[in-house]
Symmetry: C2
Subunit: 532 residues, 2 copies
């Protein structure tokens, strides 16, 4: 019945749409409907608006939003090519029943679409390209002077990061003694004279422009809806205002393909909300987002119940958890979802113990997370004056980890598409990969003089050939070990090399071993995806 | 309304009960009603029986069970002293409407009642005595020849264990080549000709006797309802038979105050049930147990969702998680429930890598779990011939850990009643205790030459006095460090000793430091329970 209604609607709108009006856009681009409507009263409260989009196959109801000055918009990102039609729905005559159509063309070469969960613990773009997360945090970069924001974008263009965590509302910091945020999300004045029923479209237009620029750089925008860093008053909104805010954010930003929703940062430090509030807002986020972007909630000290169905992946703060791979693995199995250690302390120099990692320690944490089958986020917190740090405001990176994370990213991009999983969980915590195909063993801060070639039995049989390389994670070198290694059954659990070969290791910390299967054709077998 | 009905029932049963019949039992003892009833048909299926017990205050509906040969029983363990009355309910005239009364006296000195969850992450007996779990596993000890069972009880009487995990149905093992289990839980013959509608009362009477004996030794019986160790056919029961089995077990065994329910061992290895089945059976366990004993489910490789409301505490198998304290802590915060690492590999010598721990490694795991605010279970698996090991069948302990676990138990019994929690989670993973009162720092396999007196700021202020002791966890010594340590603010995070004192440590692994506050009266302040 549903599909028949859709078909009728499709035919009707095909008849009504004027052929000459057809605009085109790329798949996963943003199609925007702009309409003039009422300005009187409070349009944010009084006017309901949305549109039904269909390509004759999928049908999507997309909420619209008021953009100020009598302008209303509806944004939709189509997930398939071909002809699309729409019809607007509103409780105002001037906004309802508008019909239109547009053509969606294949995506350009750098457009892989939105990221989604893939293979339980991993991510991929909509076009199946693997997404190997190397994140960073720049909380308030959109609140700084324009020249600093431009510098931030230049830094990102040269940096390895493919995801940025950022706040959607300003936080007060010492930095603002020099300049206050130039815009606010609501009509009103700080610190707490806000009209939460009236958004400030300028504020969000600015953020959208920055999100688009991140997208052009191939960077996901993990936008944080709520944060505990008061006291501007946003933390005291009532339930209705919270929900209106969530709906407005989703309607405005959700069509950008690089959007991820982070419901809150350090949710448990926001003392004005309960776990039940977060669950209600997270469920709303899931229900009101036609684009179904990724959704998470980030903890301070108390871990959220990530089994909640609205949570797509775990966004974890726990620096200790990535000090060694055995810990990093543990949260994975608990929730059977991807784990992103979004906050693992920052590389930096500061009086705070959460911002004092050396570059080596930061890189080490990424590698621990990697071989455990999880993902890690970076921060850079060198308090040169006040709080003028990358992770608070962007600008320049001061740390030493970024080039090494670029090196790791390259390693990851050469790794199997289905992602790195523990090979022998709870037995060999230092090794991740894909059984019988690809192994990454990370020795961390220990410096064993040698490594005996040894593979856990899963996926392995006698006579398989492997290439072994020594990776120096800090000095960014990959050194092949001469000659192939050939498997031979060793005992009930392991295979060794036929001639018992041993690999001599460098004496510095941060060494890893990469073992890759050589196919029958003599080529590396990394692109085989047996589990996919 | 409810309370009025209770009162009427109380008065009525007080009038009807014959004063001369009054029997007495200790609080938390087992009151048993025995009735003669129908033998024809299948009483396990045809007869419903229960009794409502009340002391005029609490009212408890307790299910009964068929014990064979026309005998029906209802077992109830009262949680308060005074006069109790009951009335039976049944769908058979000869079993329904029986009235009676009994008097409950205060518990004897060794009777602390059932164990329940206390202070989120810990356990206590019903009389508030802390329960510091030092568990072991003896899967099939009740299936062995009587002389071996008696030897097991003698071993337990001299061992440190206060909880035993045991299977409620037999598992086939090489041991049974020498003698098959003497009884079976159902009528029928192995391997799979069972009538699941007819229990074998003899089988359960034997288990009950053993559970009582464990209770007399002060040992909790963590009984495992389902296990994957086929193939006797119990693993293929249908849903109705599973539920009947759960109800029968609960009715028979639930009144013993030392019962804990472990729904399954290695639940995920039982390929004939789904997560939804376990959730249904766990929920049933919660609903049909008037005594509300502790409930858990134990994993193989896949971790269960321990947020399920029927789960009272986490029963974890993960040996790697207690190799160092930083890992052990991680599951605690996930579920905000007590974590018992019931299976951490076994002390032993065997071809299997899950049974090859040295005594030192076993003791190390207990200490890792302890300072992380969790609890650990022991196993002893020396395959002297076939599978004649403690953990399979009881008998004698062959390992070296037990005396060291007795030493740990003594340390725990001297620790604060509210339990050991991480002092500075994710920062100092080696230290657990109660802030400002009691600290236990465990150095594990590392052997630092000295320890600088340093306490995290929570609960600490300047001028507090502390006693420091060096604990050798393997050699079982406690060596006081001469002179008090007096606190002085060191920086934003820590307090040191006023004169910067440093404690020299022994050079062997397995060393811990115990720091206890000295009260104003010069006595150790350990018995102060600020969080309780």
């Amino acid at each position: 019945m549903k599909s028949i209604r859709h078909l009728i609607f499709y035919v009707l709108s095909a008849l009504c749409g004027a052929a000459s009006d057809i605009s085109t856009l790329e798949k996963w681009g943003v199609f925007e409907i702009e309409l003039k409507g009422p300005e009187q009263g409070n349009p944010f409260l009084d006017v309901r608006l949305g549109a039904v989009f269909t390509d004759g196959n999928a049908t999507v109801l997309v909420p619209g939003f008021y953009d100020g000055a009598g302008v209303y918009k509806i944004r939709f990102s189509p997930g398939s090519t071909g002809d699309w039609r729409y019809e607007t729905k509103s409780n105002r005559w001037e906004l309802t029943g508008k019909l239109g159509r547009f053509a969606v063309t294949p995506p350009g070469p750098r457009n892989h679409g939105p990221v989604h969960v893939h293979n339980t613990y991993h991510f991929a773009y909509a076009d199946s390209t693997p997404f190997k997360q190397i994140g960073t945090t720049i909380y308030n970069w959109t609140d700084t002077p324009d020249e600093l924001q431009e510098e931030t974008l230049r830094t990102l263009a040269a940096a390895p990061f493919n995801k940025v965590r950022m706040l959607l509302t300003p936080q007060p910091t010492p930095y603002q003694n020099r300049f206050a945020p130039p815009r606010w999300p609501f009509v009103g004045t700080p610190p707490s004279q806000w009209d939460f029923t009236r958004f400030n479209p300028d504020y969000f237009r600015h953020i959208e422009a920055r999100i688009e620029q991140l997208g052009a750089l191939g960077i996901e925008a993990d936008v944080i809806l709520f944060n505990p860093y008061g006291k501007f008053g946003f933390e005291t909104m009532d339930a209705v205002s919270d929900e209106r805010y969530v709906r407005y954010i989703v309607a405005r930003l959700g069509a950008y393909h690089n959007i991820w929703w982070s419901l809150a940062n350090e949710y448990d430090f926001l003392r004005t909300k309960t776990d039940a509030d977060w669950d209600r807002l997270g469920t709303l986020l899931q229900q009101c987002d036609p684009h179904q972007r990724l959704r998470s909630i980030h903890n301070g000290s108390i871990i959220f119940d990530h089994n909640k169905p609205w949570i797509t992946h775990v966004s974890m703060q726990n620096g200790a958890a990535v000090e060694e791979p055995g810990r990093a693995e543990m949260y994975r199995g608990v929730w059977r979802k991807p784990v992103v250690y979004d906050e693992v302390k920052y590389e930096g120099v500061t009086q705070y113990r959460w911002g004092n990692l050396t570059g080596q320690e930061m890189v080490h944490r990424f590698w621990c997370g990697t071989v455990a089958g999880t993902y890690v986020g970076h921060g850079d917190y060198f308090s040169t004056f006040e709080e003028d740090t990358w992770t608070s405001f962007g600008g320049k990176l001061s740390g030493q980890s970024a080039p090494r994370l670029a090196f790791l990213r390259k390693i990851l991009e050469e790794s199997p598409a289905q992602g790195i999983d523990p090979i022998d969980k709870w037995q060999d915590v230092n090794t991740g990969g894909v059984s019988g195909l690809y192994y990454l063993t990370y020795f961390g801060q220990s410096t064993p003089p040698e490594w005996r070639f040894k593979l856990y039995k899963n996926g392995v049989s006698e006579g398989q050939r492997y290439q072994v390389e020594i990776i120096d994670t800090w000095n960014m070198t990959v050194t092949p070990v001469e000659g192939d290694f050939v498997t031979k059954k060793m005992d009930n659990y392991y295979y060794s090399d036929t001639s018992g070969r041993v690999v001599r290791l460098p004496s510095n910390p941060g060494i890893a071993i990469r073992v890759r299967r050589i196919g029958e054709d003599g080529k590396l077998a990394v692109t085989v995806l047996p589990n996919d």
